[in-house]
């Protein structure tokens, strides 16, 4: 019998839990430790943030589902890792702190045979001075409650515009090394779409601000896609859309400070500039959670487990951009020091970025961190589950499963407006996610699998995915037939 502890119940944690439950017999124990009582389908936050979906349509409570499935659920947050145990517990454990009820603030030691760290990112608003949702005229769509608040503010702004006021809207990245450009891209297009619907588009100047070198980089070093049979770059596609929607853009911008309705940013040319706004949605930096790790005697071994995020089987050797290869990216998501610890999704430390690193004339790094979207988060969780099961079954002789982002396809459906009849989305598929210039010297990706499409059908796909993934997350009959 093995005890598997999963930290985090987001896209990768919950995927891992679902497959563990499906694949393992009941004699094995599965424990989930997560501070949020709900599962949330994050991609639909964009629609909450423009008032087209209610938060309750995107979340469901985890406790009843886990109870029904015989999974132990502890509503707590992991704080420290003891992979060797201590003088009381002779096996690895995680120290967690209850976040609710009478036990709030109390700690608990949760021992394990296998640990899956799927804690995703910390939304590091503090890394940018003045960037706190609900202050300085900024909002966020990173969580469902942030997104609800974003819609309240946007609704109030629309009322002001209906009364004849002209406003400035600023959407993009709120840190020089932020990632998740895709979410901001969706939000700016959805906001623009809604302003048209409310017939106030002419009252707003909408501006995109981003740390990307060129539009359409998306933290993936851009991409060349086939659109309608013709080759097009991500940059062409994004610029075409922004031009069409009358959105102006500021690129190569490292945002470092927000004051009431004013963003301060540095450009790659080393200039310091400002931009005013009445409504801003700026994606914060993502960081690790600041976990600590200790050995059996209480010695600090944090550097064995973490480099910000968790260390896995990536090649972390520092080398110049020109020498980066897909082989640097992890395959098994296993920690090299403690073979019973894994980190799928955003929780693993990437070897480096995917986009080319650039610094301003003042030495500030201004370029996107690597994104890990829902699909690779789900797939890496499935790879981790396969590996845990392999280890349970075969121990020392286990042959681990592999799923590198350099040998994995993914789809991204970026909503550009909600509506069954008038909605639209930009659908992109890429293979592989991390470009492989040895295999595909021209563009780094297989052009037959790397395509783009714009139109109403994309919205239908995105909406269908919303319902499908919530169905899957609820572990309803045959949920496993729906791919990650």
């Amino acid at each position: 019998m093995a005890k598997i502890v999963v930290l985090g119940a987001g896209v990768s944690g919950h995927t891992a839990v679902s497959y563990l439950k499906k694949e393992l017999s009941n004699k094995h124990e599965i424990v989930v430790v997560s501070p949020n009582s709900n599962y949330q389908w994050i991609p639909s936050n964009i629609w909450i943030g423009v008032g087209r979906m209610k938060a309750k349509q995107t979340v469901f409570p985890l406790a009843p589902l886990y109870k029904k499935k015989g999974i132990t659920y502890i509503q707590a947050k992991g704080t420290a890792f003891y992979p060797e145990g201590d003088n009381e517990i002779n096996k690895g454990y995680v120290l967690a702190e209850y976040v609710l009820g009478g036990k709030k603030g109390q700690t608990i030691k949760i021992d394990y045979d296998y640990l899956i760290n799927a804690t995703g990112p910390k939304l590091n608003f503090g890394a940018t001075e003045g960037l706190m949702p609900g202050t300085n005229k900024t909002v966020s769509v990173c969580t469902y409650d942030h997104a609800q608040h974003a819609w309240k503010d946007l609704e109030a702004l629309i009322t002001r515009m209906k009364n004849g006021e002209h406003v400035k809207i600023l959407i993009g990245t709120g840190h020089a090394k932020a990632t998740c450009q895709g979410a901001a891209f969706e939000y700016i297009l959805n906001v623009e779409h809604e302003l048209n619907r409310y017939k106030v588009r002419d009252k707003a100047e909408i501006t995109w601000i981003s740390n990307e070198y060129e539009l359409g980089d998306f933290g993936m070093d851009g991409m060349t896609l086939k659109v309608g049979g013709k080759k097009m770059t991500g940059q062409d596609l994004a610029e075409m859309l922004f031009e069409d929607r009358g959105i102006r853009w500021i690129k190569r911008a490292g945002v470092y400070k927000i004051e009431d309705g004013v963003v301060h940013y540095e450009t790659l040319e080393g200039e310091y500039k400002t931009e005013k706004f009445d409504f801003g949605m700026l994606i914060p930096a993502f960081s690790g959670h600041g976990f600590k790790a200790y050995d059996k005697n209480g010695g600090d071994i944090t550097e064995k487990l973490f480099k910000g995020f968790m260390i896995v089987d990536a090649d972390y050797t520092k080398k110049p951009y020109k020498e980066w290869t897909v082989q640097d990216w992890p395959e098994t998501y296993q920690n090299p020091s403690y073979k019973n610890i894994f980190a799928p999704g955003i929780a693993f430390a990437p070897p480096h970025t995917i986009s080319k690193p650039r610094t301003s004339k003042n030495g500030t790094a201004i370029f996107p961190a690597p994104p890990r979207t829902g699909m690779p988060s789900g797939i890496s969780a499935k790879v981790v589950v396969d590996n845990v099961i392999e280890l349970i079954k075969n121990g020392e002789n286990a042959k681990l499963h592999k799923g590198s982002m350099g040998n994995m396809g993914a789809a991204c459906v970026a909503s550009s407006g909600f509506g069954l009849g008038k909605g639209s989305a930009v659908t992109m598929t890429v293979n592989p996610i991390v470009p492989d210039y040895q295999k595909y010297p021209e563009t780094g990706r297989n052009l037959n699998d790397t395509i783009g499409d714009m139109g109403l059908a994309g919205h239908w796909v995105k909406l269908a995915l919303h319902y499908m993934f919530i169905y899957k997350a609820k572990m309803k009959p045959f949920w496993w037939l729906i791919p990650e």
């Binding site: 031009e243 395959e331 590198s404 993914a410 598929t429 395509i451």
Partner: protein, 43 residues
Amino acid sequence: MAQKITKTQRFMMKNWIVQFFRFLYLNTKILFVVAKGHGGTRN
């Protein structure tokens, strides 16, 4: 200068019949790209 969305492209992007077939195509394409599987990159 950014490329422009042409009138024909705009018509196609909004036309329900065209988009119904695009919907089928996109779902198939996504399934195909994802279901192609994944693996390692090192020898």
